[in-house]
């Protein structure tokens, strides 16, 4: 089993930390993982992206040219990464701010109104967990209990009281994800 994921959006949307939680969840499930971020000026408010690979075998390249899943949170990232999804792969996006929706027909496309959902539950910081929930619903590559374990490992202990809130956001994302095609 191997899952190559690209997550891309604005800096500040929690792109890198979502990738880290997925990677840590993979470790909790005894998988091999790599997490490779874009780094530099784009970290400071521009676009940010991260490539996460989960595999049951040793991972050679942390750099991919095609991915199984693309999680897309802004228009620039959609323009950049839509073509990189393997045929039959998954493209999950938040339609908020998207003016040109994905057009491919050879991949599975889903959307999650994560910004709207985060506003509804009154917690903008839950945004990336809602997206994560939507992803896990569509690609249950890691079990939810391992995601919670991964969460515990990737956030500092002083923030552990926030874990139930994150769990709820993940569940909300699972419910709210919509198949587009």
């Amino acid at each position: 089993m191997k899952e190559e994921i690209i997550i891309a959006g604005f800096g500040g949307q929690g792109v890198l930390s979502m990738g880290k939680i997925i990677a840590y969840s993979g470790i909790m499930q005894d998988m091999e993982v790599t997490w490779m971020p874009s780094y530099g000026p784009e970290m400071r408010g521009g676009t940010a992206n991260v490539t996460v690979v989960l595999s049951s075998d040793r991972i050679s390249s942390p750099i991919v040219n095609k991915c199984d899943t693309a999680i897309i949170l802004n228009q620039q990232s959609l323009d950049k990464f839509e073509h990189m999804v393997k045929p039959g792969g998954l493209l999950l996006y938040d339609p908020n701010g998207i003016t040109h929706p994905p057009a491919r027909t050879d991949i599975h496309i889903c959307k999650i109104e994560a910004a709207e959902e985060a506003a509804r539950i009154g917690n903008a910081k839950a945004y990336n967990m809602i997206v994560l929930g939507a992803y896990l619903k569509k690609r249950p590559v890691v079990q939810l209990e391992n995601v919670i374990k991964g969460l515990k490992k990737s956030i500092p202990e002083r923030h552990h009281k926030l874990i139930p809130m994150n769990e709820q956001a993940i569940e909300r994302g699972m419910e709210a994800v919509i198949d587009v095609c």
Binding site: A23, I27, V33, G40, S61, S154
Partner: protein, 360 residues
């Protein structure tokens, strides 16, 4: 077995430094390796192991702080990225000339000049051929995983002290920024004064006592005959290192017609290329030098006669390929494929290059 953690290569350098009993880290921030000092400051090792961590005013100062610390027989290290390493070359020459052990980490970014902060391997010449003035070499280790970032800290110090020579971990922006599963080494205590006496007691400046002559750490030898003898001694040392310390890894080389040679993160990408090539019916193998100085020349010489071609794959305009050519000595064609300026090829692009360059 220790717990598996998910950590960045740069963070692991810091954690491994503390755990291997490093006495002092002196550095200056530069992308893409600033997490090394940030992690150390966060960990506050001065409260636990007693390790000193200091942000210096420049890379020039950092490397000279290493000279001061190493002269006392202490395990000292710094980390930087390419432009910073250029500033350190003066100091590295002095450290090599004074035969001082220390560990320097270069998380390479693209150049020349201010260049880019994206990953590159264009400091190969600087790292393996000396960099600063004079005839000297660093011992150069090239990690290709986060786990090796951990392992090579301890190994780097061990080799540095074994040969009284600066050691370098030549990483790149990918290995530095990437997170992977890592098992950290158990905590070792820092050397006691008595242990330093045992390890470095015949040369370190620990304070002149009545029972021994004064110790002078210097690289100065104004008398030409003395300077020549000293340089010959250095050559002997480097030759011993060439004989004893070569490290490399091979993947599917036994029956290979074509050999990829790549180190660091590029070797990871080439591993996938090997799989893709094999699936496509091409007998391709990979030689990954782990030490860049000393270089696995003998292994390349051994493999060369069976090969139809060798492709050196680097994030540079063609630096390591010179060592490949020197090793192969014309026995088989040697080509180079590289991406520049922070661009990183994917495994398929490497395969395309192989096919194109050897008309496959």
């Amino acid at each position: 077995m220790a717990e598996k953690l998910l950590k960045k290569g740069n963070e692991v350098i810091a954690l491994a430094a503390i755990r291997c009993g490093c006495d002092g880290y002196f550095g200056y921030p530069i992308t893409p390796q600033s997490e090394v000092m940030e992690t150390l400051m966060e960990e506050k090792p001065w409260e636990t192991t007693g390790m000193v961590v200091l942000q210096a005013e420049s890379e020039t100062s950092s490397i000279n702080m290493l000279y001061g610390g190493a002269s006392c027989g202490k395990k000292v290290m710094t980390s930087s990225s390419s432009p910073g390493l250029s500033l350190m070359c003066e100091g590295l020459s002095y450290l090599a000339g004074a035969e001082l052990p220390c560990l320097v980490v270069n998380v390479v970014r693209g150049g020349p000049g201010l260049g880019t902060i994206q990953p590159a391997q264009s400091d190969y010449f600087q790292a393996t051929k000396g960099g600063g003035h004079g005839d000297y070499h660093l011992i150069v280790l090239a990690p290709s995983s986060v786990q090796e970032m951990n392992d090579f800290v301890d190994l780097g110090f061990a080799l540095a002290f074994k040969y009284r020579n600066p050691a370098m971990i030549l990483a790149d922006g990918i290995v530095g920024q990437m997170m992977e599963k890592v098992e950290l080494a158990p905590q070792k205590p820092r050397w006691t004064d008595a242990e330093i006496q045992q390890i470095a007691g015949d040369w370190a400046t620990t304070g002149k006592t009545a029972d021994r002559p004064m110790h002078i750490i210097t690289s100065l030898a104004l008398d030409a005959a003395v300077a020549e003898r000293f340089n010959e001694k250095l050559i002997e040392k480097y030759n011993e290192i060439r004989t004893k310390e070569v490290r490399f890894e091979t993947t599917r080389c036994d029956d290979a017609d074509y050999l990829l040679v790549a180190y660091g993160a590029m070797a990871r990408i080439c591993q996938e290329t090997v799989d893709m090539a094999r699936t496509a019916g091409l007998k391709v193998g990979l030689l990954r030098p782990i030490t860049l100085f000393p270089y696995p020349t003998t292994e390349l010489q051994r493999l060369a006669p069976q090969l139809k071609g060798v492709l050196s794959v680097e994030l540079s305009a063609g630096q390591m390929v010179e060592d490949v050519r020197l090793a192969v000595e014309g026995r088989t064609p040697v080509k180079h494929y590289g991406r520049l300026g922070g661009m990183v090829p994917d495994p398929g692009q490497v395969l395309d290059a192989l096919k194109q360059l050897f008309s496959l």
